[in-house]
């Protein structure tokens, strides 16, 4: 029995094995990985809220572009340090006022962020000309600035949403006259605290969840045969039907099925089996349904019927069918089948011819490895009327087999033949 079922059993579980043994763990692993990455992104790898960007310039004046101060966040702290010991001033003013103040000077523009840690700079020259006149005030004294912070060496200023729209002008030599161009090395560092951080964790959690779902599905739903998943109707209820459902399509099935269909079609066109089949149907209706040996085997072994047994067992005996499990010598059948399977491929065409010539009712299997005949026979078995003669024959045979089984298990094959002979 085990040997006969091997092919079928192997194929079904193979799907389940791959799904449960390979795909599910992979999805599971991915789910765990994604969720772990999500957790890491939410904690350890969380984007740093503290942004610190630096720029270095070497001109007397340094000016931030409008919008730089609020580029990362509204609140910014600007630390400025100068290598010179002259007065260092940081002022907030309108762009046009700054441009007017530094007219004619080379200056350094702070143009944006080139990375999270550095401020991009650009060299520029303010239009206009340097005009120095009596009554000029220093940068610190000028009325124009909204805010002025001065110091020596280093200065730190804070800007908030209220006043970060105004650019900063940094003068490393704030007490010097307007036409002075002495410069010093200036380092500008801007600190922001990002209030809205990019969220990488949630998408990873989502992907992880999807992977977990996929793992569960591949362990359950996708591990089942598609047809099994699909069919839930009454057709699947009988054990025999269920067995047939489990037959999986293989390439040999497709090849042999196609070839078989071809020859079957030729046979039916020639009306070789048609008459016989009709006769059989008539008999079945009368209650004396003959059950060809091959078909019986088919029912029990499924695939075996497609691989040659049916073809070989060409003798058709009329009369009621009695399925006697005890009468089957499974070991012998297995051995026979194994040898036949080996010669399967080459035997196939002849067999079909034989079958056609012998006018058996064996239909070559269709693409799904099932035949209409077999389905019908399954119904027959459940509804066969057992006549008193049948019973008598059965008991007689049981008695004979009792005796025969004592003489040796190998004789079962003969018994089998005898059974048919009796009928």
């Amino acid at each position: 029995m085990v040997g006969v079922m091997t092919d079928k059993e192997r194929k079904n579980p193979r799907r389940a094995t791959i799904m449960r043994g390979v795909v599910t763990p992979i999805f599971g692993l991915l789910a765990v990985t994604f969720i772990a990455l999500g957790l890491l992104n939410a904690t350890e790898w969380k984007p740093n809220a503290q942004v610190e960007a630096t720029a270095v310039s070497d001109t007397r004046y340094t000016v931030t572009d409008p919008g730089l101060l609020s580029l990362v966040d509204d609140d910014v702290t600007v630390d400025v340090s100068s290598s010179a010991s002259t007065k260092l001033c940081v002022v907030s003013g309108l762009s046009r006022d700054i441009a007017g103040w530094i007219a004619g000077h080379d200056y350094t523009r702070l143009t944006g962020l080139s990375s999270w840690s550095s401020i991009s700079t650009a060299a520029a020259k303010a239009t206009g000309s340097v005009q120095s006149q009596d009554g000029d005030v220093t940068l610190e004294q000028s009325d124009m600035w909204a805010a002025v912070t001065c110091g020596t060496g280093s200065v730190s200023v804070k800007r908030t949403a209220d006043d970060n729209a105004l650019p900063l002008l940094i003068d490393t030599n704030a007490d010097a006259a307007a036409d002075n161009n002495d410069s010093a090395k200036l380092t500008v560092t801007m600190h922001w605290t990002r209030s809205t951080l990019p969220d990488y964790a949630t998408p990873l959690y989502f992907i992880g969840g999807m992977c977990a779902l996929a793992a569960v599905l591949s362990a359950s739903l996708f591990a089942m045969h598609p047809s099994k998943r699909r069919k839930k109707g009454a057709d699947v209820e009988t054990p025999a039907a269920r067995v047939r459902e489990e037959i999986e399509i293989t390439i040999p099935h497709l090849v042999f099925g196609a070839v078989g269909s071809f020859f079957g079609a030729i046979a039916s066109m020639l009306h070789l089996g048609g008459a016989k089949r009709h006769r059989r149907h008539a008999r079945r209706a009368a209650g004396t349904t003959p059950q060809p040996e091959d078909t019986r085997l088919d029912n029990a072994t499924g695939v075996a019927a497609t691989t040659g047994v049916g073809g070989v067992a060409s003798s058709v005996a009329p009369g009621p069918v009695v399925v006697d499990v005890g009468a089957r010598n499974l070991v012998a059948e297995q051995a026979a089948q194994a040898s036949e399977q080996a010669t399967d491929q080459t035997a196939e065409p002849e067999r079909t011819e034989e079958a056609s010539a012998a006018e058996t009712t064996v239909e070559e299997p269709d693409a799904a490895g099932r035949t209409a005949e077999k389905r019908e026979s399954a119904d027959e078995e459940a509804t066969t009327v057992i006549t008193p003669e049948d019973f008598a024959a059965y008991f007689a045979r049981v008695a004979a087999e009792e005796a025969a089984s004592k003489s040796g298990a190998d004789d079962a094959g003969d018994d089998h033949a005898n059974d048919e002979g009796k009928e």
Binding site: T33, P47, S95, W116, V137, D143
Partner: protein, 341 residues
């Protein structure tokens, strides 16, 4: 066998894919996100006022502080840091008079509270800020202050102070948050260009109703007061067989203009005048007022006295389409020099 091989290959492929995916994720891990880019329209063309009201208040407070120090010391030399233009001439004269009289004239008072300030949005220099104060404690009319910044490296200075004429109606101006626009001496579309309006007003001051421009101007107290004074002096002169001549001329480029909400220009300008009085019949011509006396000091009087005045006038020049006349809304008149010829 083939099954095993297949599943092995399958597994290998999937494992590789998984590893690749994990490696890709690893690259993503710890990323700080894209660096924010500067907005393309960073250089906004939107007009913003040159100053906010706090800056204006600070500038004005600094100026008034300096004025108070100069007033207290009665020292005109302290004015130059914060005062310029006609205001400097007027204030210097007032302080010089104060040195003689002992106290500064009540007309020099500038209230520290304001009714309104008009801040322009103009770029470039010079820039002007117009501020209208409250009435003084002794119920004098409001002062119109004009503060100018001549260049980027200069601070705002008090350029002109005008006492509003009683009952004068000032035009409306844009609020400081929005900012007004400065006018120009050659603005078109008005009843007259601001420069012309000032020149014509000087002619009207000199010639009264006989001026060819008299019809351009609505009546105002300043003009009528000068006319009355001139008429009174004329009577006295005629009794003494003396003569008097008074000339008015607009000071070139001493003009500040602010555009009002309805498109007209409020013009503040300096008009210089010289009043020459010649006594008849060999008499000496003497200063006619306390101010003139103080300015004249101990100089030797002759038959001819020339008094130089600085007049600062505020004229509202409406749009030509309005059909209105030019209206003087404020004025200041101060003798700055008295000399015997």
């Amino acid at each position: 066998m083939s099954i095993n091989r297949n599943s092995t290959r399958n597994f290998a492929v999937r494992a590789l894919a998984a590893l690749a995916a994990i490696a890709a994720l690893g690259g993503m891990a710890g990323c700080d996100g894209p660096v924010p880019k500067m907005a393309a329209s960073a250089t906004s063309t939107a007009k913003t006022p040159d100053l906010n009201v706090d800056q204006e208040a600070k500038i004005r407070a600094d100026i008034l502080d300096a004025l108070k120090q100069a007033d207290d010391a009665k020292d005109p030399s302290k004015l130059a840091e914060v005062v310029e233009g006609p205001a400097l001439a007027v204030r210097t004269s007032q302080l010089t008079t104060a040195q003689a009289t002992g106290s500064i004239t009540k007309y020099a008072t500038i209230p520290s509270d304001i009714e309104q300030t008009v801040i322009p949005t103009d770029t470039g220099w010079p820039r002007s800020v117009f501020t209208i104060t409250t009435t003084t404690e002794d119920r004098q009319t409001q002062r119109l202050l004009v503060m100018n910044q001549s260049s980027a490296h200069q601070n705002y200075k008090l350029w002109g102070v005008v006492r509003l004429l009683a009952g004068a109606q000032l035009p409306k101006f844009a609020v400081p948050k929005i900012g007004a626009s400065m006018g120009h001496a050659d603005d078109e579309g008005l009843v007259a260009t601001p420069a012309d309006a000032v020149a014509h007003y000087a002619d009207v001051l000199a010639n009264g109703t006989n001026s060819q421009y008299a019809s351009e101007f609505a009546d105002d107290d300043f003009r009528s007061t000068i006319a009355t004074t001139t008429a009174t002096v004329q009577q006295g002169m005629e009794a003494n067989r003396g003569t008097q001549t008074q000339t008015f001329s607009a000071e070139p480029d001493a003009i500040s203009i602010m555009r009002s909400s309805d498109g007209g220009d409020l013009v503040v300008a300096q008009i210089n005048s010289e009043w020459t009085r010649q006594a008849g019949e060999g008499r000496e011509s003497l200063p006619a007022s306390a101010d003139e006396t103080a300015l004249f000091g101990g100089a030797t009087a002759t038959s001819t006295l020339k008094v130089t005045y600085v007049n600062v006038v505020a004229l509202y020049v409406p749009q030509a389409s309005s059909g209105a006349k030019i209206q003087a809304v404020g004025a200041e008149r101060q003798p700055v020099k008295v000399e015997a010829l």
